[in-house]
Symmetry: C2
Subunit: 196 residues, 2 copies
């Protein structure tokens, strides 16, 4: 999505440790008008796929997932992050590792809100190693539901998480895929499906 | 807001410890269509007040604050929660206590995203003792900005946080104010300003 690539190039900051900071429009200050456009583009890509729920994880994925759910006209579930494995019986849970925060966590979703009847689109802001998406896919599978696919806003293509999932046959749509990144120079993977 | 009161009465669960669980549409599973309506109503109440930013706190306030920001056409900043007081120089921070989670935290906002030029609307999902709102107001004041007011979705009127702020002259709009709550019976404060 050219609009997003231009915004990342203009406003993103490449920090030591291979961190891309997009706090100015996505992760701390949210450019809501722009994020609604991102959600609309995700909805466009998954229209007609039978998605009846979106699943994301707190906290920074919630805004864009809300936008996507609005345009797909489906409810949104956000998994909660727990520190430990001390989890109740009435939830589905799966462990994940955060590349950004450098820690492990357990994602938790109440059994009330996912079932075998669901076709779920998984949405997150960043895709690096794919740990969060795998964890959310595991939760949908525990419920017996179907994963329609995943959508991320920014994929770090060179970290391989997205392509690993694609190789397994999972549909992964990322609105911008970064192939390489250094201060002052971000290179994107061409996106043949894009409209914007 | 009658629509919201009816939804809380129909779907909310009153749990021991004075907890109202609205996980089915607001705090875990999000009824996005409904939450967009809530955001629209917040925007209607603060239209023409010069609001140029909305401030909320992660995680469960983000969806409704996104909706309000969309209809007011302003950016949204969400404060991050830290566990400790070990905070960097480039942020505003203030401590708060969570009634729901029974813990203390420090809310943090980067100095980049708030300034003396800002007129800020503070949005959160729940208002009980008012600790989160006071903490976010303190952050706006540290930046030298002006607080246009606060908006919450569900205020527990009998816990006094909202009225304490109103007595100090702060404008507080809550879309539903619960006067008393027990299993099977929730009583709301009449709302003269409501449209929906």
């Amino acid at each position: 999505m050219k609009l997003l690539e231009d915004k990342i190039t203009a406003e993103g900051k490449v920090l030591p440790g291979n961190i891309l900071k997009v706090d100015g429009f996505l992760n701390h200050r949210i450019d809501v008008e722009f994020v609604m456009l991102l959600g609309k583009e995700i909805a466009r890509r998954y229209e007609g796929c039978g998605v009846n729920k979106i699943l994301t994880i707190e906290a920074s994925g919630i805004a864009v997932a809300t936008a996507a759910a609005f345009y797909l006209n489906v409810p949104l579930i956000f998994a909660k992050k727990h520190k430990s494995g001390n989890i109740a019986d009435d939830v589905y849970s799966a462990g994940a590792h955060s590349f950004t925060h450098g820690n492990d966590y357990v994602a938790v979703v109440s059994k009330e809100y996912l079932s075998a009847d669901d076709t779920v689109l998984i949405v997150d802001d960043f895709l690096a190693l794919g740990s969060a998406l795998e964890c959310l896919m595991s939760i949908v599978e525990q419920a017996g539901g179907k994963v329609a696919g995943c959508a991320s806003i920014i994929e770090k293509g060179y970290q391989g998480g997205g392509d690993k999932l694609r190789a397994k046959g999972v549909r992964v749509e990322s609105l911008a895929i970064i192939e390489s990144m250094e201060t002052g120079k971000i290179t994107y993977r061409p996106d043949e499906g894009e409209l914007l």
